[in-house]
Symmetry: C2
Subunit: 178 residues, 2 copies
DNA sequence: ATAAAAAGTGAGCAATCACTCACATAACTG
DNA sequence: CAGTTATGTGAGTGATTGCTCACTTTTTAT
């Protein structure tokens, strides 16, 4: 990955997150990245290719986070770590994950990111087992419940990202699982 | 509201929900509605005006649903009715509400629909009181929790709209509040 | 050093899109 | 009925956009 390639990806990510994919012209990406427009197409074929490259990074990063949760041995610790995941994602790379979540609603990339990825499935399986070990009578439904909750949490985090708010709500959610 | 005006709105709604606002040309709306393209602009000024007209309907419809919940006297019944709200919205007018939810993530209409409307606030207040009456120690946090949960539920409903799934998950959620 | 491959440029093209406008028809109004 | 307003048409326009391509510069390989 060239220095300019990374620069293009970073800029595209920032602009896509800020203005949306369809409303961000490749000319603007080139301008703000300080490269010629043609270079974008040389490296990423077309505008969709740019998005695909950004999404490929999503999988890598998610993989790291999930494997850290898998490493935990205590099932309750796994559940709590999962609850903390959205806030962690947003604190580390806000724009990147905001783009991910906004994409969930776009038809084009419906089968790509966060939601139905291998890691999502792996995590679901893990937390199902965790709930089972913790003695919950309906672990599958419990996981679905948690997924929905964290989905909504992500949505809240995008609007109200103050540290105080995050800590309060995380503590409250965790208090429901002990 | 003319017959053709309604036809345009319906068609625009369907196409916006299916393909997204930015990627739906006004020419296609006109074509599928069986009217001339110029008529769209005569009635709705510009493409944004079309969207605004659609969003104005959102407020009306939500108002009906919220006032029905307000009319209930039992606080637990209010909570349960709120839990059923997303599924109700989707069963009645799927495309319409899908568009609403997808819009949440678009910068342009961030201050418009579902989320921060008067009715959202009214409902939040109502359910806060309901939780208080039910003896929950932290009613404000409890409401936020429920909002997030229902947000995530909406997201699930869009992907997996089978009746069986909906009934199962609704029953499970409601079993948490009694 | 030289050739070949890769990286980088930017003017320009074809297509698309939101929107206009001159005009036609239909619906009210007195 | 005549006059006025509202509704409806669709070809045309200017601006924008994704993308190409002929070309230059830099890097790599031998």
């Amino acid at each position: 990955m060239t220095e300019k390639q990374e620069l293009i990806l970073e800029t595209a990510l920032r602009l896509f997150a800020k203005y949306g994919f369809d409303t961000t012209p490749t000319s603007q990406i080139a301008k703000e990245a300080g490269v010629s427009e043609g270079l974008i197409f040389r490296h990423f074929t077309n505008k969709d290719g740019l998005m695909d490259a950004i999404l490929a990074l999503s999988d890598e990063r998610m993989s790291t986070h999930v494997s850290r949760i898998v490493e935990l041995t205590d099932p309750l610790a796994q559940v709590h770590a999962t609850i903390e995941l959205p806030a962690k994602l947003f604190s580390e790379e806000r724009e990147f994950w905001m783009l991910q979540f906004s994409l969930k609603w776009q038809k084009k990339y419906k089968n790509q990111p966060y939601q139905a990825s291998t890691h999502q499935l792996e995590l679901t399986q893990l937390i199902t087992n965790a709930f089972q070990k913790l003695g919950y009578p309906e672990p599958e439904k419990e996981v679905l419940f948690l997924i929905m909750l964290l989905d909504g949490l992500s949505s809240q985090l995008m609007r109200q990202p103050s540290d105080e708010f995050i800590q309060t709500i995380l503590a409250f959610i965790k208090s429901k699982y002990r």
